[in-house]
Symmetry: D2
Subunit: 336 residues, 4 copies
């Protein structure tokens, strides 16, 4: 009989960009064409925003990047002071990063699983699939439940996701971070705020629903997404020069871009984001936010035109080259 | 000198599927191949979920669908009892639908604007661009501000987005809905709940930030996204047979799928969503949620395998055919 | 035991655009946004090129359009004088259209076959798969062989593909066209030339290899692709106002665009193609020809800028709407 | 006044994969997910086909790869005996590679040119655009004309494109190859055949039309694409173990796959292609050849299932990593 361990045997291993120096390759790409040239320009802008010591760098994460082996890239970026705030989907931060921090792993799924023909079998085995990667659903329920435990211990009032995620970092600090290179844990230690503007839309949502259900009409924790927005806007006001490094699009991209307008609404004129890089496969033609050009964002007064670059590539290919470039150029050494 | 009115002269007009009967066309497509065959199957499933009188239909909206002229399709679907709940991005509901309800319009942008070469000029004119569509930014600020006014009048406690959006509907009822076919207004009248799980990520976010800023340390309205999730989960529990009609992916898709698991977390075994249709241009290969197959969702225990269909098409082409089909098949006449 | 007939039971049926009038739908789409608005503009340009009685309309076909159920659309276009020349891949003309003319059919493949998990089984059963459509490989070999028979009967000299395809039409005329609405046969009857610039890259290639092999060192038929180019260039010279209706990209798109330059090489200054519509899913970002914009083609002096429109959509959705529009607008009635 | 030199100042420089060792990076990618994992598997298969000394490697090239800076990658592959035959579009071989061999260059186009807003100006300046790369049209006419000169000197009989391209190599040998790393020239020296099955669809087409026009009814060169197919089929028969490395899809992909069937038509049972790698951005959902899976090709009896991998990426990103991997693994050193 097929069991879980027939599927869950080879863990995803996080790529370590400190080990490969792509600077000469990326520079050579800059003299070619198409996506390679775009990628080289984006690498240069990434380097510039890190080298600009006045620049607050906001890292935006959508998609399933942590389960896909990019966790250490972002944890290293935090450790090297290359990142001053993170805006992410909940999946990356809770279901994937915090989940691994609790000691669990993601697993390499055989290629044939992508066909969808085995999903009923996976379901019976309590295995969840993300394209070509597998998760033990029972472990995920432990993760959900841990988020409830954290909620139970927090003050029963509206929290921003940032406050809550900081409590997750504290939890890992107290209970031990069981796998290395956790974004949540490194951000906790470096005091880098993490925002998940759609926070209930992840494993934490399950924990919070359980928390609220248990509390009934009594005082309970709630998640104030307006507070998130208010907090990030205040960061922008305090830190006028900013750069966006966006992997994927979705809510994090829009949320981080919008703070320029929000500052204006609060009566504070702040400059647009000075630097902006986005890695995405989303297309411009559906008119949706993910694929909208950074030029379009400039019509909204959100992103400046001088240093912006889209890279149309799946993230697992482009992100190691981009962060590898910025890491090996070394401008982060002068940041604090 | 170029002025706003040089750009903003031709309004987007919402397509009216009650006027075109695509049933024979769609049925013929079902005997061909590729996307046409997929679309025909999705149309059939849409018809089935409407014809299933036990089925609670959840409409999920991402992208910029209202500005793109699809508002009346969804308003008609609400009016015809084809929809029992809506999960959307804030952009569709607040910046676009409520915005039009206040009497404003979206404008047809000339094709050349897509090139991005005119965005600096648009910025100077206070015109915002969504691909090939234009918005008067000053009008949008009025919309932002109206959301603040609504927040100021609500009880200073955590609200779900559903509660807040209902107040927006009441506002339109009281002050007059200035353009016809508002989703917010029709849903208010028909008592169809609308959820925006990432509610601060839209025009309302600006209003709420202003509200919270003005209130300072005093009592203030907050937006509880966990409450949203709890409420939609309770709807699922009350309404075991459910179907999803998803336009685009993003947070709405995931949020609506997750309630099956949330019910389980609350100790209630509920069936997976029985019907699921998604129209999207997102690709499966980035491993992100928007493009993930509905089969993959079944590995997570969220969507059943019997009646699911993806349609890979930009929404403005596929949605009029799909809803036109369901409308003209007429099964909604038996719904209440 | 699984047999061929377990797979090959439901034939693809060709869509009949004379039966559905999409004019009001397409016109309404023109007042919306995104792809729908593009499609409406493309429909208008299609109508204009048909209404322009001086305009020679060149239909370009790539991909697997005939197997996908679009054969009758193009056969009707020929019958209605909407098309003056066709440039196609060999697959559409030989493997699919002529194949059906010989009495064979394409079959609807179950959705699960797309997963690729059944391809070994299909191979054993001599069934070939095109995404979700199936072909009896033994029948295809009959088609290959018929192309050899035709080659054997032709004069042993260089032929353009046009000459050869005309002989295929004559073959159907003599032996009976066994399924209705053959493009090859209708074009034969209407004296509309068909060019396949990469003619050996299809079923006919097999027949021709067999022919040349059998002839050994003796006189044999050869396929002169330069002659094709020369002939189409002469058509352009004779017919200065031209329009391109392109489904897919590939060789047909480039070949038909290039005749403007070829005329110039022959010392004849001819105008660029005045009208150009392309339906494709190819992306611009790979720099390849299929997705290159029609504006880019104008830098090469091939396509005029006034009436050009790309429609980014899979053909089975867009083509019935576009040709349905042109058909029901009826301008073809004035053509001869 | 704007002149050509305002646009044509920075040449595209061809990337040199011998200078960067991506082996550790690619191996690490193999333990992650999505496209990175696919790329690592494709790199491994590429290495295997090179290491298999019985394997004839067929390199298939579509798109605009040479103008995009990948010329040296393929020239190096030929020099290192990693390639035994090439099947390409004419654009890569004639308009781009041979063109550079004549001493001309491709130029980096500014990013804004992609918008299409400058194409009329480019046209007036005789500059042709390929997405973000520029060509001097007058130089291209020289290239066209050189192909005519070559045709004039060849025997007036049907030629395969391979014969003709060999004459182009001889031309470069005689007149000097004016820029290094020409694929045509290196293939000429190494006796690696190059096939362009749609040969008239490129710069050579213009030369050949001029040639045939000048010859009138007299004896003239013709281009026999059936002969191409026959010749490549004979190579396959002589060389039963084969591998395909395909960049892009289109005619080269189909043509190279088809020889398995053609051999069968000639009564020779040959094995399917044992190895197959394809780098493409084409999607499977349009049912066209470019994006069709290599599994689908196995239903046609063309490609074996054991060692096949698609990499969905724009070529300028993936090809340097794939060939860099194979180069630095060094298995080519044992090939002759
Ligand atoms: N779209 C806007 O102009 C806009 C404006 C203000 C705020 N926002 C906010 O940004 C966030 C993300 O917005 P989003 O939903 O645009 O993100 P998104 O771009 O991530 O869209 C989600 C997915 O839906 C699909 N999709 C969207 N439009 C489609 C269409 N027309 N046809 C087919 N598929 C389509 C795409 O596959 C996409 O991947 C939301 O919170 C929203 O409120 C968006
Ligand atoms: N397609 C087949 O099944 C098949 C079978 C036998 C031989 N061939 C041969 O292979 C060669 C290349 O074939 P091809 O034309 O399929 O190549 P292709 O995949 O390169 O298609 C060309 C372009 O047309 C567009 N396109 C194709 N089908 C489309 C659709 N349904 N909707 C929208 N856009 C679409 C795509 O953008 C694609 O990039 C030809 O010589 C052909 O004769 C193809």
């Amino acid at each position: 009989m097929v069991t879980k361990s027939d599927y869950l045997h080879t863990p995803v291993e996080h790529i370590d960009v400190t080990q490969f120096n792509p600077v000469p390759l990326v520079e050579a790409m800059g003299r070619t064409a198409f996506t390679a040239r775009d990628l080289a320009r984006a690498a240069d802008i990434t380097h510039r925003m890190v080298a600009d010591r006045d620049c607050g760098v906001i890292l935006c994460l959508a998609g399933s990047l942590v389960s896909a082996g990019l966790k250490k890239v972002f944890a290293d970026a935090v450790r090297c002071n290359m990142v001053d705030a993170i805006v992410s989907t909940g999946a990356n931060i809770v279901d994937q990063d915090f989940f691994e921090g609790l000691g669990f792993r993601h697993w390499v799924g055989e290629e044939k699983l992508r066909s969808g023909m085995f999903d009923a079998e996976l379901r019976d085995l309590h295995i969840d699939r993300i394209y070509d990667t597998l998760i033990d659903e029972d472990e995920l329920r432990t993760c959900d439940d841990t988020t409830r435990v954290i909620a139970d211990e927090l003050e029963p009032r509206p929290h921003s996701s940032r406050e809550y995620i900081r409590a997750m970092g504290a939890y890992l600090d107290k209970n031990g971070c069981k796998t290395p290179d956790s974004i949540v844990y490194e951000a906790y230690r470096a005091d880098v705020p993490i925002f998940c503007p759609a926070f209930s839309d992840c494993s934490a949502g399950f924990g919070l629903v359980a928390h609220q259900h248990a509390r009934g009409d009594g005082p309970k924790l709630s998640l104030d997404s307006a507070k998130d927005f208010y907090e990030l806007t205040q960061l922008k006001i305090a830190n006028p020069t900013t750069g966006l490094f966006m992997v994927g699009g979705g809510v994090p991209k829009n949320f981080a871009q919008d703070v320029v307008v929000a500052a204006d609404v609060l009566g504070r004129e702040v400059p647009m984001h000075k630097y902006a890089v986005q890695v995405t496969v989303a297309d411009v033609r559906d008119g949706a936010l993910s694929g909208s050009t950074l030029k379009e964002a400039s019509s909204w007064g959100k992103v400046d035109l001088a240093f912006e670059q889209m890279v149309y590539s799946e993230a697992t290919l482009a992100v190691p080259l981009l962060f590898g470039y910025a890491y090996h150029k070394g401008a982060w050494k002068a940041r604090t």
